[in-house]
Symmetry: C2
Subunit: 335 residues, 2 copies
């Protein structure tokens, strides 16, 4: 018998999630059945969508997220003891997985990709769901061409920092928006962004006009809100917007969304295309992204950064810290 702990979300969050919205539940895991295996969690991801989906599902529920775990016992020949798996089992230290029960994307289970010597934890970031999000969400929806100007918001985050680096690799001019001068420094000096702008202190419209005097061709949107309106209103004819997230409003009720300047005149007169997506639509192709991203990292063309919090008991802190923008790159927890 194995004693397992997991975080259960008890409530619909009101604004910023509170520690009291969670309960850590301890349970004895039952013996394995056919096709099942027992895993011990090593790395857990915290991401903005954990906040967003809370409005859309009924509590209580086990806090989901991607995680990396080691198979310790197995009644499934595809996942023998010693295998490492990526799953969506979330904030737990031990759990039982039955890959045959996958009914939708959120039941995803797959063997850790061959990371060619890179840290396993990257399978939660650049070589995981966020990397696939950046890769497909940017390349498939924005369809960037060399020399085009690309804007990324949430540029210092897990997805944004990868999008900006892919855009540079593809020969684009890249402008990133982030929430502190230190992040701006990192984006410009370490990641090679052509320009980064602190949206909290800059006159955003003016700063963007200066950074992109010929307008913007592609916009990868992680944040939504007024910042998005300002950027969309500076897009060139036939500009493309990939909407990945709307973190600026995730703490708001869905029926009391904030207001921002309308963008329809820009959409019409500049003939813009705006598309939202969830990365599950490319699930069958994630490995394409992983293969290419691993090569870029090994060649030094991409520098994935991780923001690591230690300890199962610090998951909540890591989560709300990420929501507050404390992370540089991918926020993860080492169990």
């Amino acid at each position: 018998m194995v004693k397992a702990r997991k975080y259960v979300v008890k409530n619909h969050f009101q604004g910023v999630p509170k520690l009291s919205d969670y309960e850590i539940v301890e349970e004895e895991l039952p013996p394995l059945k056919d096709n099942e295996f027992l895993v011990k969690t090593e790395w857990i991801s915290v991401d903005p969508y954990l906040r967003a989906y809370n409005s859309q599902i009924n509590a209580p529920y086990d806090q989901f997220s991607f995680q990396i775990a080691l198979v310790q016992e197995s009644k499934n020949p595809d996942y023998p003891v010693g295998t490492r798996v990526v799953s969506h089992k979330g904030w737990c230290d031990y759990t039982i997985i039955n890959p045959k029960l996958q009914s939708d994307f959120l039941d995803t289970v797959y063997t850790l990709p061959d990371l060619k010597g890179l840290s396993n934890s990257l399978a939660l970031g650049a070589v995981g769901m966020p990397g696939a999000t950046a890769y497909f969400g940017f390349l498939e929806i924005c369809k960037p061409k060399p020399d085009e100007t690309v804007v990324v918001t949430g540029a210092a985050g897990a997805v944004g920092s990868i999008v900006g680096q892919i855009a540079k690799i593809k020969g684009c001019k890249v402008i990133g928006f982030a929430g502190s001068d230190e992040k701006v420094q990192w984006l410009e000096k370490e990641l090679g962004f052509d320009k980064a702008i602190n949206y909290k202190t800059a006159d955003v419209a003016k700063a963007l006009k200066e950074a992109a005097p010929n307008g913007v061709d592609c916009y990868f949107d992680n944040v939504g809100g007024e910042l998005s309106s300002v950027i969309i209103n500076q897009l060139n004819v036939f500009g493309r917007v990939s909407v990945c997230g709307s973190i600026s409003s995730y703490n708001d009720d869905l029926d009391k969304l904030p207001k921002a300047s309308i963008v329809q005149p820009a959409l019409v007169f500049r003939q813009l295309k705006v598309e939202g997506f969830i990365v599950s639509r490319w699930r069958e192709r994630w490995s394409e992204a992983f293969t290419e991203i691993i090569t870029w990292i090994l060649n030094g063309k991409m520098k994935p950064r991780e923001h690591v919090t230690e300890g199962f008991d610090n998951l909540f802190k890591a989560f709300t810290g990420m929501l507050a923008g404390e992370n540089y790159g991918k926020a993860i927890v080492k169990v």
Copy 2:
């Protein structure tokens, strides 16, 4: 020598256009040169984009719009005397046209299509630019499937009323928003909309939820603003939005646009696609639309309605009346 009159826009409009923003200029037309021909205007179109473009070009300028005219003298063998032409020469009673000088879409000149006995004036509406706008903007961008639910705003207008009828022809369920109970009656009783809603008096979100309990698949947007936000927030997964216009904001300054509830959460979580367009992108294919629309009208499947104002001197009144929503269907002026 022919004496011609034309409306010249002297100013950037401030809010609703004023009569004093226009000057009627009289001029003697010079003798024809090679390739030129002289026309006498018979029908003139007034459209929302006449207001919108005023913010984007420098005054003074001749008030452009589509018009139908009769060739009275010609030094161009392609346009002999007696030919009727559709051009973008706008609010004038006589003018000289040189089709060789076409440098962009707004210099468009073409021979009146064969209307199979229908009124010539339809070449400014259902069988003209607005018809092509409805046809391509809806079919190419929304890509509607039978039994899908389609919402149209500005549903009683020149483009919206055609979009709704095309959607019915394609087997969709059609819900229209318009600005009066009389328009609602017309859309439901005469045009066969499944439901029409007076956005000025209804609780829009509630009325739409009742009319479309299974959600909305396609949205053809003529108006923008908060109404669009409400509708987009009721779109189904993989819903499509075609943005044709933003008339709710055309009287506002482009640098002081109104605010509306954000739509990014809906875009992401419902994976929506929103695209703005100008009908010039399908200019080479307009005749496809005209051929099909003429057939629909002759078969009784489509009922184009015209809102006719008489007299060259009433152009301004027809224009501002249309902007105020007085028209049912296509607003045109008989010279």
